[in-house]
Subunit: 398 residues, 3 copies
């Protein structure tokens, strides 16, 4: 947001020769806090400052220094340590996403400690399934070493995934996650897949090969989920790193990932023809293209036993986004084909705000149904806790 | 909906070896009635149970048996016979859709009986215009026999349609209906059309030929409508039978028809260039892709004298669907380019509920216009009956 | 609207042999005024009649003649002359759009008169950048003559644009405007561009060449904007002259321009990679495809410093259109990446109504934010004048 208004990345502490004085960076943020008016970021920061840190005044250029000091003071206190906040926030479980090559040692440490919180890993294999990922060739070599599988063959490569999934399961994982540019799936014959894999593995793959390979892997992962019970998540439709200069100078995840039109009907068909009717599979779909809510996603989730709709994602994890989601999906998919609320924040202190927004929006929607006589009041009371966490608990087998 | 939550088709009485005990199937439905919360199906069933059958309590696993008995008891009574319900519901006309090969004998029987209700046929020729329809070749042979036209020639084939349309007109039809995967139209020269028809008729047509042929037939039907006055309806954009297994095991119409992105601007242009300005033509457009309401359909209907927008269709025949339809189309197309409400249910007892929802939603929208000073109150009162049935009566020449 | 309901163009005074009696045409309009119920046109005409002309009664067939007389009487008065209305309406500036070949003599006259109003030109070069524009070849010849540049070379052609832009700047222009069928941009190497230009200039260009050329010119104009400071506007996505008969018989701008699906993410990327991070550039984007608001436009404007979102355009310059715009864009782009309100009417008397609608809709949205505790009341008061005109003043460097 600040970059979009002409503030440099450097002034925000990002890039070579960037500002390193945190107080100064904070002041820059406070000075431009009005830019966030009407955005969910504003709601989250307000909530964190007031509820989590107990700071009474609104952030502004006048209050920037006092607020900075107050936060720093709190952060030195024991009850602002991450585990204390986890308890205070009433969190039941946090799931991290971890690469297929990750040794999950931090998860081991956490579980072996005297702490009772629950942090589980999630299998996110993009770095060894997306031929266009940076370092793909090296990743594959390491993938073979870690698993002891002969990844030069198609069956060996699939076996390596099964091995790693078992490892993740043993560390508490209940789900996998897949971030793809599109929702395309494929269901090749094994000889076609073997041939394609040879091209991928040899580094001779074209962009079209890469797309088909990612598509095929979604179907393979859906089959593995039927076997080992890991819940599958698909996050589709982001054009990553839209600007070459920003990517070159500042790297990934700098606010330049832009949603694009995403189709699910033809795209998911190969996977759904293969295992879509299998009740062992749970596939949770996330989209950045709201035009698919009523047109494609709700009808698909309202038909296939394997499908659930994930909560409004990313840009749509917001007041209006949640309202539109319920209004567009409920009439066709109902509530029970949705996955309940989960947020995907990296900012610990924003968790209470995000869940608060979700609970309020969902309850407002239920209240709207009751006051327009589309739902009885006792049913709204029964649904509210399911939308808040019951459905998430069930969908993710927690 | 129940299948999407893991209930088998067999438990619902569908397929080989399916449950045949209707009471048991009804119990399964009642047990899962909560799945429908927030959906139009829920509203319709609630309305039918309470208003049509006079059952006071909400359907649940506890009330399932009593409700089952109460319904069965009522259905034995004379005033629950279809014609009695027709009168009680205040229905003015029911239009059926009938294949081009149908002899319409049931319509004859109804008209020749002492009953004063009005049931008219509608010409739905998909089985003899869609080369990908099951049994297309046999249908064509029968089409020639029935009409006495030489359907091996393009002009003979068109003449056969004209003949059947006349027959339908003589039985009370006022409209035709066309269900197409897309809204594509074409306007080939007669020699191009003749050549295409020869490939279609010989069974040598490719998928691309089939698409162009369907497209061409829409324009031909629009021309015939100019001549014989039958109102033309286009229902475009459903991907039928999305799942191979469900289609193979349980057949058509099992809840696995999924909407897809649908375009109208380039697609309808050949037809509209041919006869779109002809005031004798009425073409009513239905879509499952709401993103086209404001972007494509309202601007087209707000320009072409031949076009009317059909009411929100299928998944969108709902509270939110109707609201979105009015909000997205009225400002550009106004009210008078919409076709008024008609539902396309096969469930007789849901008719009052559907019209009740439509009347309430449309009146709520009118009230919103009045309270925000966008419409005078006397105008809202003038519009309400038009939206409820006046525009439908006029559009369909009833 | 009236044509869509079967009124002929001729009855509206358009075309050969058309009705010439203005009173009769006005009566036809009054007789069909109910067709406009629920549309913005209705709001504008109502507002103009009551507020601008002081006519108390609603327009109808009964009041048609009296209203006609009352308007004509007012139009003879000095305080209904355009400059008087400009003052009375509180207009600060009007920007016209002018072709690259225009001599801007009317602007000279206005500035040299004793009038203190501000009317500035806007550089709209479509007639010399779109190879499919009527008279393109002749326009190019004239373009070379006016500028004294050798437009047979690519660099000479670009120089001619720079020359004309300087001329427009000297006459008070602050912006350029570009009306394109799509938002496609390109960034060819100079030798590729030179080769393409030679084909374009020789008249040998294909439709694909024309599309790439228009795309390339958008990037060139963005570069020029970095140099000379003219704000760039892109209006993309209209399918002009949808009906051949209407275009042939009645010409352009007869209500048969239909929006089409428009993409911005891949399409704008070449331009944005070239100069999107340059803070000297302001590119204001307008769309007719509302599905891009939340999915594409808000994320782009919320990232790139050069981008601003123009107000809801054309069909969407309406109550519902403005509400949807704010609801779909604010959470991601905020308010400060939008351009404030400007209307693009040709009807002087509708200006107050349009701004009134915009102010009311924006204030209603702000009030909604305040009452749902998403914004503090003092912030809403600070934002209201910015949305009404402050952001427009800043965006367009007025």
């Amino acid at each position: 947001m600040m970059v979009s208004q002409g503030i440099s990345f450097e002034a925000l502490g990002i890039g070579k020769g960037a500002e390193r004085d945190r107080r100064k960076i904070w002041r820059t943020f406070a000075e431009h806090y009005h830019l966030y008016r009407g955005t969910p970021s504003r709601l989250w920061v307000d909530h964190a400052l007031s509820v989590v840190f107990g700071i009474p005044q609104r952030l502004s250029v006048e209050t920037a220094d006092d607020t900075f000091d107050a936060i720093n003071e709190k952060l030195l206190q024991d009850d602002y340590r991450p585990r204390a906040l986890y308890d205070r926030f009433g969190i039941e479980v946090i799931a991290t996403t971890d690469g297929a090559l990750d040794d999950l040692k931090w998860h081991d440490e956490a579980r072996q400690s005297d702490w009772s919180g629950r942090v589980v890993p999630t299998y996110r294999p993009d770095a060894v399934t997306d031929p266009e990922f940076e370092g793909f060739a090296e990743n594959l070599i390491r993938f073979g070493e870690i698993t002891g599988c002969d990844t030069s063959s198609w069956t060996g490569y699939l076996e390596a995934h099964r091995t790693r999934r078992k490892f993740f399961l043993s560390k508490g994982a209940t789900a996998t996650d897949h971030g793809h540019p599109t929702a395309l799936t494929a269901d090749l014959t094994s000889s076609e897949a073997e041939t394609l894999w040879r091209r991928i593995n040899s580094g001779d793959a074209t962009a079209a090969d890469a797309e088909v390979f990612r598509a095929q892997m979604l179907t393979e992962f859906a089959r593995m989920s039927c076997e080992d019970g890991l819940v599958m998540q698909l996050h589709a439709g982001s054009h990553r790193n839209h600007n070459d200069h920003v990517f070159g100078a500042y790297g990934r995840d700098r606010g330049f990932d832009i949603p694009r039109r995403t189709g699910f009907v033809e795209e998911l068909r190969p996977l759904l023809n293969a295992v879509g009717m299998d009740t062992r599979l749970t596939l949770v779909l996330f989209t950045l293209d709201e035009s698919t809510y009523a047109r494609e996603l709700a009808p698909l989730a309202g038909a296939y036993p394997s499908l659930r709709l994930g909560p409004p994602w990313w840009f749509h994890d917001s007041f209006e986004g949640m309202r539109r989601f319920r209004e567009a999906t409920t009439e066709t998919a109902g509530f029970f084909n949705t996955a309940g609320f989960n947020d995907d924040t990296r900012a610990l202190c924003s968790i209470p705000a995000r869940h608060d927004v979700a609970r309020r929006c969902d309850c407002a929607y239920l209240a709207e149904l009751v006051t327009t006589h589309r739902l009885d009041e006792d049913e709204a009371f029964a649904l509210a806790p399911l939308l808040a966490n019951g459905l998430a608990r069930e969908t993710y087998k927690l």
